[in-house]
């Protein structure tokens, strides 16, 4: 819930939650926020709150409304905006942007687009166009789709600081790992571990997979009687975290894991 903090000369007088769709500010007593000061007009300004967004509008006041030092007629309130009315100051504290989760997660929850909605849209389209049936059906489908998309978009925008619903999971920068073969016929060869997973070994003898995860690299035994060893220790069934310069032995081949700067 967004709120306003009323203060004068740095002294906090009160806090007002923006619960109503319209919150009026003025000198007269019927205002939601009454400021009894002659510099404030009877009906000075109004704050319209729609979902999480609040807009401030000056109602033709004598001395005007100032936000962050600039006189405004209409203003989309941002967190920490300061509204000045004569000597009084109103600080706008927006609703904290929902931390990934909470509301956003709710929005992402699977929902059914009921055929009824499609039908209603179809009837609407039919009433409007009165065109031939197949065209209408097509249009209706498109309308229903658009409506749903629009409502989805609206919901997305209503979410303050809306990012695209699915921000592509940014892979955190992490050092690239690599392995160098220490024995066998390919000794000296190096293999960069740039893929999310890399398999090593011989099928039937011993296969392990190296997975690249945000936390770092892990080695897991996949199949075969020979479990890989890390620094001489055989690994279990669970993934084993790899550290820089660990020596892996798999199916008789030794290799060193290291991280590149």
């Amino acid at each position: 819930m967004a709120k306003l903090i009323l203060s004068m000369d740095g002294l906090v007088l009160k806090e007002i939650s923006l619960t109503k769709e319209r919150t009026t500010i003025g000198r007269k007593p019927h205002n939601d926020i009454q400021i009894d000061n002659l510099a404030v007009s009877g009906e000075h300004a109004v704050i319209v709150t729609i979902l999480n967004d609040s807009f401030l509008e000056d109602l033709g006041s004598t001395n005007g409304t100032v936000v962050n030092g600039n006189p405004i007629k209409k203003h989309f309130l941002q967190n920490n905006d300061v509204i000045e009315l004569g000597k009084y100051k109103l600080k706008f504290v927006g609703e904290p942007a929902p931390v990934a989760g909470a509301e956003k997660a709710d929005f992402e929850k699977t929902m059914v687009l009921r055929p009824a909605a499609m039908k209603a849209a179809a009837e609407q389209a039919r009433a409007m166009s009165g065109g031939s049936a197949p065209q209408v059906a097509g249009a209706a489908r498109a309308t229903a789709s658009q409506q749903a998309a629009a409502s989805a978009t609206a919901a997305g925008i209503a979410d303050k600081d809306a990012k695209p619903a699915a921000p592509p999971a940014a892979k955190p920068a992490q050092p690239l790992g690599s392995i160098q073969l220490l024995s066998g016929s390919n000794a000296g060869k190096e293999l960069e571990l740039s893929k999310p997973l890399t398999t090593l070994g011989k099928p039937g003898v011993g296969v392990a997979v190296l997975t690249r995860r945000p936390q770092g690299y892990f080695i897991t035994h996949v199949e075969g009687a020979n479990r890989p060893t890390v620094n001489g220790q055989q690994i279990g069934a669970a993934p084993h975290a790899l550290k820089d310069h660990d020596v892996i032995e798999l199916a008789g081949v030794k290799m060193e894991f290291f991280l590149k700067a």
Partner: protein, 274 residues
């Protein structure tokens, strides 16, 4: 026919990194070649109830009807195999159960679930689905999506409004156009495909395919195909590493060998002896 030795089945379900509830539900009956995955929706715990009802009803009902019949039996009236009819009937039963529960109990109002069911028999797989839970198959190293989502996004792709690339960043991924338990009647989409030994079938909820690229899913299945359990865990882990914003569920089914239906005279004798 017992398929326990023919199909290797493993499943993994996880609430993900953001949600506290797991509204997905998975069930499998290896002997009858049946796997079911459902992704529930609805407030409070209604989603879990809906998906749980879907998997339980379908598995138990199928077990009952398959106790006295085989999926490749031919219905004398329609001269068609009964598999599709049986599966469809059980899906409709699940629909009715969920719908009635939602109607009679206010806390379940509006609940529903997506569904993907596979029934393996006679070297084939019968697939029924509703909503945006998917079936993929890995065959000869290539991953292919088998089902087509019943979702607004898919309809927009089909009608050419957006390209599949744009769809990846679309906002309304969550709107499905068909689901179980929402309306008194429903029509599951059903298809039948031939299976080959070595195929790996992947059933998953949108928590996987929204978070992990198809390419990466294919790579994981290919790399870890030797260890199905690990592959399932790896897929869930990849979804969680990428953010895990939704519940993630996967069922993996590997076809180990051919499993043709026994239709000959000998089969009849054996069946009679049983």
């Amino acid at each position: 026919m017992d398929l326990t030795q023919t199909l290797e089945i493993t499943s993994c379900t996880d609430p993900g990194m953001v949600r506290s509830h797991n509204e997905d539900s998975v069930a499998a009956d290896a002997a009858r070649g049946l796997v079911v995955l459902a992704d529930g929706m609805g407030g409070y715990n209604a989603g879990e109830v809906a998906s749980g009802m879907a998997t339980t009803v379908i598995v138990t009902e199928m077990q009952q009807v398959l106790a006295n019949a085989r999926p490749y039996d031919v219905d004398p009236r329609t001269s068609q195999e009964i598999a599709a009819r049986l599966l469809r009937e059980q899906v409709l039963k699940a629909n009715t159960s969920i719908y009635q529960a939602a109607q009679s109990q206010p806390q379940y109002a509006g609940m529903g679930t997506t569904l993907v069911v596979c029934l393996f028999y006679d070297n084939r797989v019968l697939v029924a689905h509703l909503g945006d839970s998917r079936l993929y198959v890995l065959r000869e190293g290539k991953l292919k999506q088998v089902t087509r989502d019943h979702s607004l996004l898919q309809e927009q792709i089909d009608s050419g409004l957006i390209t599949p690339d744009q769809a990846k960043n679309a906002q309304h991924k969550n709107l499905v156009t068909r689901a179980l338990g929402i309306d008194p009647s429903v029509e599951p989409e059903m298809h039948e495909y031939r299976t080959k030994p070595g195929d790996i079938y992947l059933l998953c909820s949108d928590g996987l395919c929204d978070m992990v690229d198809d390419d990466d899913i294919g790579m994981a299945l290919q790399a870890l195909g030797g260890n199905l359990k690990l592959a399932a865990q790896q897929l869930v882990q990849m979804a969680n590493d990428n953010g895990g914003r939704d519940n993630v569920s996967v069922i993996l089914v590997r076809v180990l060998r051919e499993y043709p239906a026994a239709r000959g005279v000998m089969a009849k004798v054996f069946a009679w002896l049983k």
